[in-house]
């Protein structure tokens, strides 16, 4: 191809000099050559090169700069590339779902925002499920208790965390009110084919609930305190540990001062080198604690952070320490129905969006890729808020952020959402 370049260029230069010749219907030499090559290749196999004239591995490098919806729309080979394991994955919204009529059967699905469609996760393989107390061995769903027949008004916690590119289900209860997950159930969407695995058992044993979150800067899964099979276990109530999915074991962290964080399922939110948590979900007087991972020491939560922690909180899980230095933390004030961002300098929460009709009673929130995703009360919808806008001119009012609503698949409700890379698929 290189050898003939000069002659073809000089012969086509006269044709090329015409205005807008790339819109011609007449086929210039380059296209004729590419077409002939394509036809030859089609006879051998149904192969469509990504960008005719370039080898695929270089075309891939070009396409990696394009917005995913554009790649999705141009042609089938581009769309296949978008989901190929070798191509940088776009972020998607993962959800734990339950059916209205079967609240105790939890299913996993992923909302692909480029295709604008829900995709079920492949079910955990049977050998994995057999290691969990699953009341229905034939069902691919995770058999944990969300609604106890004696406590219909209250949902028992099922805790999941997105950390280091993995989705980890960490704590829940069985019908017998014992820990449902002796080991974390973990899903890895990317790279390679999506797969499920079991993580190592947490130190001091599995929990019915705990403080759980993603360590900042891609540090892995953080777990602290909580309640195990025995209702009263002071050592467990004070413990803390960290697990990165590439490691085989949990790494212990300095214990808490006392067991007050065991009273409720708590979110531990990792941002700017720290893990922040409170000991009561929702509104009401509570206590907070912050673990500084660099100093490996617990410290009290700044008063402004604690005062505004009035609902579910999330931070965007950065991939590395550079991302983490600018990490933002968000709270949904479930009483007022407002989304706020934490101002690290001023120790106060700044309101981004006032939307009581949508956000009141919010159950859980996840952040990532410039968006905050809120599971609205009762799990009937996910509100996606754009928090990525650049700062406007000083003096002009900030426009309210854009929002979109994602509805769960029919008949299902959302327990929790997480932001993670899309699953790899060979064909789409």
């Amino acid at each position: 191809m290189a050898a003939s370049a000069t002659s073809s260029e000089s012969s086509s230069s006269s044709k090329r000099a015409r205005i807008g010749s790339h819109l011609d219907h007449e086929t210039p030499p380059r296209r004729k050559r590419a077409k002939e090559e394509e036809e030859e290749e089609e006879e051998e196999e149904e192969y469509q090169s990504l960008i005719p004239g370039l080898p695929d591995h270089l075309a891939q490098l070009c396409l990696a700069h394009l917005p995913p919806p554009l790649i999705f729309a141009v042609c089938r080979s581009w769309r296949r590339l978008l989901y190929a394991p070798s191509f940088p994955p776009f972020l998607s919204l993962y959800a734990l779902l339950y059916a209205d009529d079967e609240p105790n059967a939890v299913a996993f699905a992923c909302f692909d925002p480029v295709a604008a469609a829900w995709v079920d996760l492949p079910p955990p393989p049977t050998p994995l499920l057999q290691q969990l107390p699953n009341p229905n061995p034939n069902s691919p769903n995770l058999g944990v208790l969300i609604r106890h027949p004696s406590f219909l008004s209250r949902r028992l916690p099922l805790q999941s965390v997105a950390a280091a590119g993995h989705l980890a289900v960490l704590a829940g209860s069985t019908a017998e009110l014992l820990p449902a997950l002796p080991r974390p159930l973990v899903f890895r969407p990317h790279p390679g084919p999506p797969r499920w695995l079991l993580g190592p058992a947490p130190p001091l044993g599995p929990r019915r609930w705990c403080a759980a979150g993603a360590a900042p800067g891609g540090g892995g899964v953080f777990l602290a305190s909580g309640v195990g099979p025995r209702p009263h276990d002071p050592a467990l109530a004070r413990s803390a540990a960290l697990w990165h999915p590439r490691d085989g074991a949990w790494a212990p962290l300095p214990p808490l001062r006392d067991g007050r964080f065991s009273r409720d399922a708590a979110e531990a939110v990792g941002a700017r080198g720290k893990l922040c948590m409170v000991n009561l979900r929702g509104r009401g007087p509570k206590q907070g604690a912050v673990l500084d991972l660099r100093r490996r020491a617990w410290e009290p939560m700044p008063p402004g952070m604690l005062a505004g922690w009035s609902g579910p909180v999330a931070a965007a899980a950065g991939d590395d320490d550079d991302d983490d230095a600018e990490a933002a933390m968000y709270v949904v004030d479930e009483g007022a129905g407002a989304l706020r961002a934490y101002d690290w300098g001023g120790d106060r929460w700044e309101t981004l969006l006032d939307a009581p009709e949508l956000l009141r009673g919010a159950a859980q929130v996840a952040a990532g890729g410039g968006r905050v995703c809120v599971v609205t009360g009762c799990g009937g919808a996910v509100l996606v808020v754009d928090v990525s806008s650049s700062s406007p001119e000083p003096g002009t009012p900030t426009p309210p952020p854009r929002t979109w609503v994602v509805e769960p698949p029919p008949g299902k409700r959302v327990l929790a959402v997480h932001v993670l890379p899309r699953m790899g698929r060979p064909e789409s």
Binding site: A3, G20, H22, P67, L70
Partner: protein, 245 residues
């Protein structure tokens, strides 16, 4: 490092189609695929180094890039380099592909990445139909499928979709494109024009392998005016060609 005397020594590079260039060592070594030969001193031998996988006009273009980015860069502002890169890649899609393939084969990662970004930038400004036409991609989707796809995309992570209408299919930028494509084609014709002139000169001169086609570094062009450098080089090159005829 550019500037030390060893780096500024001249080496001879040849292409399979009869091209011959004398450049600074540091420029030649920036092509990682031949850097071992450059380090070994092969460029100072009689036959020089035969650069594989590239034709004369493409190598000329690449050497120009490396001259600016390797030799001139320390004395240029970043914005000057940016402006140079933008002008440098304002060529036909065909020539862009040749540059990309050569940058890949010669293992010049920065140029490879720059061209890939450029190809992507050319696509970003276009509607889906325009992309397919310009890059010769068949339309495999039915009208129904396209209607489903191009309804306004509600949202994705990471990127803002600026248009309210999401991804556009219509060819509503014809006039703009005609303007830019006209500019591009004109540039190509110019380049090809100078290329053809060079061919002519080489044939006449026979085996004179000391031709330096506007890739020698310039003293005193360190004020950061890239346009001036290019113009100056162009004029010097033309003057030399005229003198040797």
């Amino acid at each position: 490092m550019a500037g030390s005397s060893k780096e500024m020594e001249k080496v001879l590079l040849r292409t399979a189609d009869g091209g011959s260039f004398v450049v600074s060592r540091c420029v030649a070594a920036a092509m990682v695929a031949i850097s071992c030969e450059v380090e070994a001193g092969e460029g100072e031998r009689e036959g020089g180094i035969l650069v594989p996988n590239v034709t004369r006009p493409v190598l000329a273009k690449i050497l120009r890039f490396l001259h600016i980015h390797v030799e001139m860069a320390p004395s240029l502002y970043p914005i000057t380099l940016e402006r140079f890169d933008k002008e440098f890649l304002n060529v036909s899609v065909d020539f862009l592909y040749h540059i990309l393939l050569a940058a890949y084969h010669l293992k010049i990662v920065s140029l490879r990445d720059l061209v890939c970004q450029k190809v992507a930038d050319m696509m970003k400004g276009k509607s889906i139909d325009e992309i397919r036409t310009t890059f010769n991609i068949p339309n495999e989707y039915t009208a129904e499928e396209m209607a489903k796809i191009t309804k306004k995309y509600p949202w994705i992570f990471d990127q803002q979709l600026d248009d309210e209408k999401g991804i556009s299919v219509e060819k509503d930028k014809n006039i703009e494109n005609e303007g830019t494509s006209k500019g591009k084609h004109k540039r190509t014709a110019d380049e090809l024009g100078s290329v053809e002139k060079d061919n002519h000169i080489e044939n006449k001169k026979g085996t004179n392998r000391e031709e330096e086609i506007h890739v020698e570094s310039k003293e005193g062009a360190s004020t950061g005016k890239d346009k001036q450098i290019e113009d100056k080089e162009e004029r010097e090159g033309a003057r030399r060609r005229r003198h040797s005829e």
